[in-house]
Amino acid sequence: MTDLLPFPVLLPLFGAALTLVLRRHKTWQRAISLAVLLAQVVVAAILMVQTHRHGPQALWIGAWDEPLGIVLVADRLAALMLLVSSVVTLFVLLYAIGQGVSDGDEGAPLSIYFPTFLVLSAGVSNAFLAGDLFNLFVSFEMLLFASFVLLTLGGHGARIRAGTTYVIVSMVSSMLFLVAIAATYAATGTVNLAQLALRMPDIDHRAALALQLLLLIVFGIKAAVFPMSAWLPDSYPSAPAPVSAVFAGLLTKVGVYAILRVQTLLFGDSIVDRMIMIAGLLTMIIGILGAVAQSGIKRMLSFTLVSHIGFMLFGIGLMSQAGISAAVFYIAHHITVQTALFLVAGLIERLGGSTVLDRLGGLATTSPLLGVLFFVPAMNLAGIPPFSGFVAKTGLLQAGVADNTPVAWALVVGSIVTSILTLYAVTKAWSAAFWRPKPQEPAPVSSRQPVLGRLSDAVGRGVVAVWEDPSVELSEQRTQGGGMPRLMVLGAAAVILAGVVLAGFAGQLFAYTDSAAAQLLSPLSYISAVLPPEVR
């Protein structure tokens, strides 16, 4: 029954190859991408049922002897992550198809969009299934390369600038990851996670601590944990809406997943847990202060993304079943809600011609539907009761209170403050873009004059070379005329609905994440699924 394990990776890779061959046939490309991602959702759902019933599943690839080859492992956590990510990817693809159908090609090399998107999906799936550190590294590289291409799609000024930062930061973190793998191999003689779990207690504890910190820094960069988070709000907003949506939903969560995996499987309880919680607190507070200060919706969303990574670290740092369970729930919730918000930001950009709050207004009368589409995930993000964000945050707070240490209490308070500030940030965007009447053209002179003066100064001095580029969020954006294509609305609505459904089945989902957390905290079932008794 483990034969299904490679399919979440293989399907999108084959799809990528096919769509690349058929690059001149738009309809075929779309059909193949949709079919592949649909099949991936089905496989992920079957895997989730299997792992829930029969425990972790492992499959050794190739004909190597057991501890040497590459192993794919799915336990409850990995299966849930696979399912949520493949569902979200499918809906984002719908949205992207809708955008492509209505906008045409505009000379952009869009024939590479679908293959790249599928490679990204394969990389994400592979990261969730990877059973050894090196395979994890390879899947990071897969999804990073796909994201490099997607982020710089079209190759105009702002995207090149944003892409440069992103690419270099990613490459530095990859290099650190390679150093971590080399050190791990030198210290233990293996990179297989299950074997590492067995050998890690035997090595010198200072060496183990060094490995742990090295790995946490690497995954912290991917997950945009506070001191390493500056690259994210800088690079995400300039990408096209479906791209930044799928990045925001999935890429940082892969980092969080990796932190959760190594913390539970390899290292267990230690002083580092408290460090993770403190990093989580700083990420929350500093991220949300950044979000409050923003005047563009996409940048604001990027900062809330950073901020809410802190919530997941909170749960992971607790290292209790309740904490990890809530963190896993939070990851699932946050994938759907953050993706939905970025998709809606794309719709706002189409309808209002901009995502800068100063230039928006009156959208609630222009399109009540868009109002609903923004309002539901925005409230969900802030954690207002009927939605999944409330359930996830309640779980975290309960786990934090149960922990009853000063650090945990600090995080409980920090979470509440962050939630309120999130509410403030999204309400600010809501009232500026939707409630108030559309601002007169040109924008109100009195308060904007000095700022504009400074801007033209900056441009005049040639300090900001990219300033006049149309896609920098702050500057004037080209007004994309026209309404909202039905398929785009459908894609966005489906992701939002997925978030709402999470709340509807919160009881069942929490029961599942509870058992997933229990499985993570007793690594023996993982180890015995991967390694036959004679090589342990």
């Binding site: 040497l68 090196f134 390879v138 590289e141 390369f145 490099f148 710089t152 190759g155 105009h156 000024g157 702002a158 090149i160 600038r161 892409g163 440069t164 930062t165 690419v167 270099i168 490459m171 530095v172 990859s174 290099m175 390679l178 150093v179 793998i181 080399a182 050190a183 191999y185 030198a186 990179v191 800088d234 200060a293 005047s295 940048r299 709050l357 100063d358 109100p444 009195s446 308060s447 904007r448 000095p450 700022v451 400074r454 801007l455 100064d457 900056a458 300090v463 900001v464 070379a465 990219v466 300033w467 920098v472 702050l474 500057s475």
Partner: protein, 144 residues
């Protein structure tokens, strides 16, 4: 396991030089830095593989005299990946040069805005001193 000091020193020097170059402003130097640092990391894998030995072919020699093939397989993968990365960054640098006439990484527009506002001691564009809180405005309406 005994570590080879020369390999570790070479790796350290390569990575340190690479990091120094990565901090440069021009993208072409950053690329050189990445090349150097990733080669340094590659050397680190040779150190991690333990003492050097013969080629690890089955049956060619006893297992104790073979060098460890696993880190070499890993470093091969890493070399291929870093080759592709460098190619991609080169194309980015070229594109940057075509667009702006230099391959310097420009400042983030938002950072620049905030810095210039701070230097001029001005408030941000979202802050509007004329907008009072709505509750206050309502109260004034009520009194008027």
């Amino acid at each position: 396991m005994s570590a080879n000091l020369t390999l570790i020193l070479v790796a350290g020097v390569l990575v340190a030089t690479g990091v120094h170059l990565i901090f440069e402003r021009a993208l072409s130097r950053v690329i050189l830095g990445i090349v150097l640092a990733s080669n340094g990391v590659g050397v680190l894998y040779l150190a991690a593989g333990g003492a050097a030995g013969g080629a690890p072919f089955v049956g060619a020699r006893p297992a104790e005299e073979m060098s460890d093939p696993l880190p070499q397989a890993m470093v091969l993968t890493a070399i291929v990946i870093s080759l592709a990365s460098v190619a991609f960054v080169l194309s980015l640098a070229y594109r940057q040069w075509r667009l702006t006439g230099s391959d310097d990484v420009p400042d983030d527009a938002e950072d620049e805005l905030i810095r210039s506002l701070a230097q001029a001691d001005q408030t941000s564009s979202t802050y509007d001193p004329e907008t009072e809180s709505t509750s206050l405005a309502d109260e004034e309406d009520a009194t008027a």
